[in-house]
Subunit: 213 residues, 4 copies
Amino acid sequence: MSQGTIPARQRRSQQTHKKLLAALEQLLKTKSFHDISVAEIGKVAGVSSATLYRRFKNKNALIPVLFDLQKRQMEQWVDSNHANIELGTISLKGALQRIARIAVRQLIEQRHIMKAISVLAHTRPELFGDEWQSREKRTLEIWKILIAHYENEITRTDKALAASSLAYFFNTIFVERIVFHDTSSNWGLDIDDEAFADEIADFAYGYLTANNQ
Amino acid sequence: MSQGTIPARQRRSQQTHKKLLAALEQLLKTKSFHDISVAEIGKVAGVSSATLYRRFKNKNALIPVLFDLQKRQMEQWVDSNHANIELGTISLKGALQRIARIAVRQLIEQRHIMKAISVLAHTRPELFGDEWQSREKRTLEIWKILIAHYENEITRTDKALAASSLAYFFNTIFVERIVFHDTSSNWGLDIDDEAFADEIADFAYGYLTANNQ
Amino acid sequence: MSQGTIPARQRRSQQTHKKLLAALEQLLKTKSFHDISVAEIGKVAGVSSATLYRRFKNKNALIPVLFDLQKRQMEQWVDSNHANIELGTISLKGALQRIARIAVRQLIEQRHIMKAISVLAHTRPELFGDEWQSREKRTLEIWKILIAHYENEITRTDKALAASSLAYFFNTIFVERIVFHDTSSNWGLDIDDEAFADEIADFAYGYLTANNQ
Amino acid sequence: MSQGTIPARQRRSQQTHKKLLAALEQLLKTKSFHDISVAEIGKVAGVSSATLYRRFKNKNALIPVLFDLQKRQMEQWVDSNHANIELGTISLKGALQRIARIAVRQLIEQRHIMKAISVLAHTRPELFGDEWQSREKRTLEIWKILIAHYENEITRTDKALAASSLAYFFNTIFVERIVFHDTSSNWGLDIDDEAFADEIADFAYGYLTANNQ
DNA sequence: TATGAATGAGGTTTCATTCAT
DNA sequence: CATGAATGAAACCTCATTCAT
C-alpha cells in the first residue's frame, strides 16, 4: 500500500478509492496533475472532496498510488501475453524489434498515466518512493540476460555497461514521441509507430554489434 | 520578438527586461516555473511585479522569451568556438562523438533553463510559438549534410529518415541524464558525462553503419 | 445529568461515557477544547466518533459533563479528608491559610480540567448550565459561617459583603498562578506554592481585620 | 512594529491597517478571536481578505498588533490625566483606592480588547512576544516606589515580595469582574464598580498594614 | 448497536492581475 | 513611467455531524 493511502475497510470505500483514481486518470488526459484540483477529482468521481481526504492523506498522496496503478496496469498487460519474447527462437535484431514494439504499444496504452508520471518525476521527484529503484534493478537484470544470450553476436566488451546503456536508452527514447506525441516536435519522422520502433531497434542493434576495432 | 512581449523603447526598460529574465533564470535553478510567483521574479529583479506587466502581457509571456534567451545563449556558446566541427578532417565516429560531447557540454551549461523549457514544453505546449519548427528544420539540414558527407560509410538507405532519426535521437537522449541529472534514475550508468557521450555516439554510429543485409 | 447527555442504560455504554470523558481530560492536558477534534477524542477513547454522538448530543454537550466531572473529582478529594477545617481549634489567620493552601492544592490536582473550564467559561459561557449558581450559593454560605465564627476579630461591618468579597477573591486569585502556571507572567513571585498561598491568606486576613476607622 | 506586520508605505495602506484593526476590535465585542474569520474581518473593514495578508503575515500576526493597540490606547488614556496619582498628598489607603479605581475604569474602557488579550494569553501564549516582560518590570518598579513611600505605615518586612504580590494581585483580581462581567459569576457582589474597587483596595491595604506579630 | 464512510460548510492562504498614486 | 495597494478567484484542507451497513 502506498504511503499516504488510508486503508479501506469496507467495500464501499474501496469503490470510492477506485472511483477517485479513475477520475484522476480521466482528468490527466486533458491536463497536468498540478492543474487538476481536488474538487475536480471529487466531482468527476462523484464524491465530495472531503471524501478524498478520507482515503488519501493529501493531494500528493495520489501520486504513489498513480504509480502503483500504472504498474498494475502494466503487469496485467504483460500477463495477457502481449509481451512474450522467446529468446530461443529469434535473432538478436528480431528480439530488439520485438522489445521496441512492445514498449511502444505499452506506452501507447498507458499514454496518459505515463505523461503524468513523467512530468511528476521531473517536477516533484521527492514524491516518488524508492520502489522506482527496484523496477530499475529488475529491468537491468533482463537486459543482462538478453546480452548474455546473444553473447557471440555482440561486440561490446563491457557487458554491464551495455546493459545499463540499453536500459537507459529504451526507457528514455520512446517517451518523447509516444507519450508527448501531440505536444513535441517530430523531426520529420513521418513514419508510423511500428516503423519508429524498428528504427529505434536499429540503434540498439547497431550499438551492440558495430565493429569496434 | 516573442509574442506577448511589449516593445521597449527606452534603454531603461530594456534593462528592466533583461533584469526580469535574469531573475527568472536565477529562480529556475531552484524551482519550477509554476512555483515561481510574479512577485518573486520582481523581487529578485529589483522591480515591482506591476512593472513586469508593463514589459510582458502576462506571466506566460515570459516563456517564449525564455526560449529566445536559451537560443541566444546557445548561439553565443556556438560562436565562441566550442562547437566547431570540421567534417573534413575527422572520421564519422569521431564526428558523432564530437557532436555528442558538444551536446552534453552545452546541456550542462544550460541545465536550468533547459529543465524549465523541457517541463514547459510537456506541460504547456501551447505557449511555445512556431519558432520551434524553424530550429527543427535547421537541425535536420545539418544532419543531412553530415550524412551526405559520410555517404560511403553509411549503410542506411533512406537518408532522409536517417537524418530525422538522428535528429530525434540526439535531441532526446541526453536530456534525461544531463538536465534531470539529480532527479531521474541512472540505470547503473556509473560513467562520467564524457564517457556517456561516447556511448551515445556509439548508438548513432552503429545505427548508421550496421550491416542491414 | 448534564444537558445534552444521552442517558446510558446499559453498563457498556456507561463505560463508553467514562472512556470518552477520560479521553477528553487526557487531551485537555495538551490542547484546548477547541483544538481537540471529535475524532481525536474517539481515537483516544478507543471508540468511533459516531459513537460519541450516541452518548452526547454534540461536541459542546461534553462541556457540562466536564464540569460535572470536575465537581465529582473535587468532592472525592474533599471527602478524602484533604479539605478538613476545624474552625473551633484554629485562629482566623490559620483558617485562612488552611483554606488558601487547600485551594492551591486542589487547583494543582485539577489543573488541566480547570484550565479547560476556565477558558470555556470565558469563551462559551452559554454552554454552562445554571448549576454554577448553586455552587456559588453554597460557597457563599461557607464564608458566612466562617465570618460569623470569627465575628469578634473581624472589623468589617457589612458581613454579607465581606462574604461575597472573600468568595470572589478566593475563587479568582489562584487561577492565574496555579492553573495558567506555565503561560502567564509571575511578577517576580519566586516563592513556592505554599508560600504563595500564605501571601494570599494575608490579603484576606488584612481585609477582614484592618482598622477601618 | 510588531512581528508579522508588513510596513505600510502609503497613506492608503496605513488606513487599511487601521481599518482592519478597528474591524477586529469591533468583532471582538461579540466573539472570540478564534471564532472570527479573516473573511469577516475583511468584510467589516471593507477590504478583501487578501488585503489583510498584504498587511499581516497571517491571521495570528494580528495578535501582537492588538496588544500594541491596547498599549497605545492605555497610554493615551494615562496621558489624558485620568491616571494621575500624587503620592505626596494622599494617604496609603487613598492611594490604593485611587489605583484600584483607575484600574477599574481603564479596564472598563478597554473591556473588549482586554477580553481578547486575556483569552489569547491563556490559549495561545506562544503568540505573545516578550514585550510583556518589560511591562511587568515597569509595573513592579511602580509598586516598589509606592511601598517605599509609605514605608512607615507598612508592616510587611519583605518589601520586594510585597511589591510582587501587589502587582500580581492588582493585575489579576479585576479582570474576572470587569472584563468578563457578563459571563462570569458575581458571587452576590451587588455593588457598583467603584465600591468594588474600594473593596479590592481594602484587601491591599489590609495586606500591607496588618499586625503581623 | 457501533462504526466506517461520507459530506457540506467553512477556514486560511496564495497569486496573477488590475488599480490608483 | 513605475510602483505600492488591492482583489477575485481559487486552491488545499479540516471538522462536526449524518448516513448506511
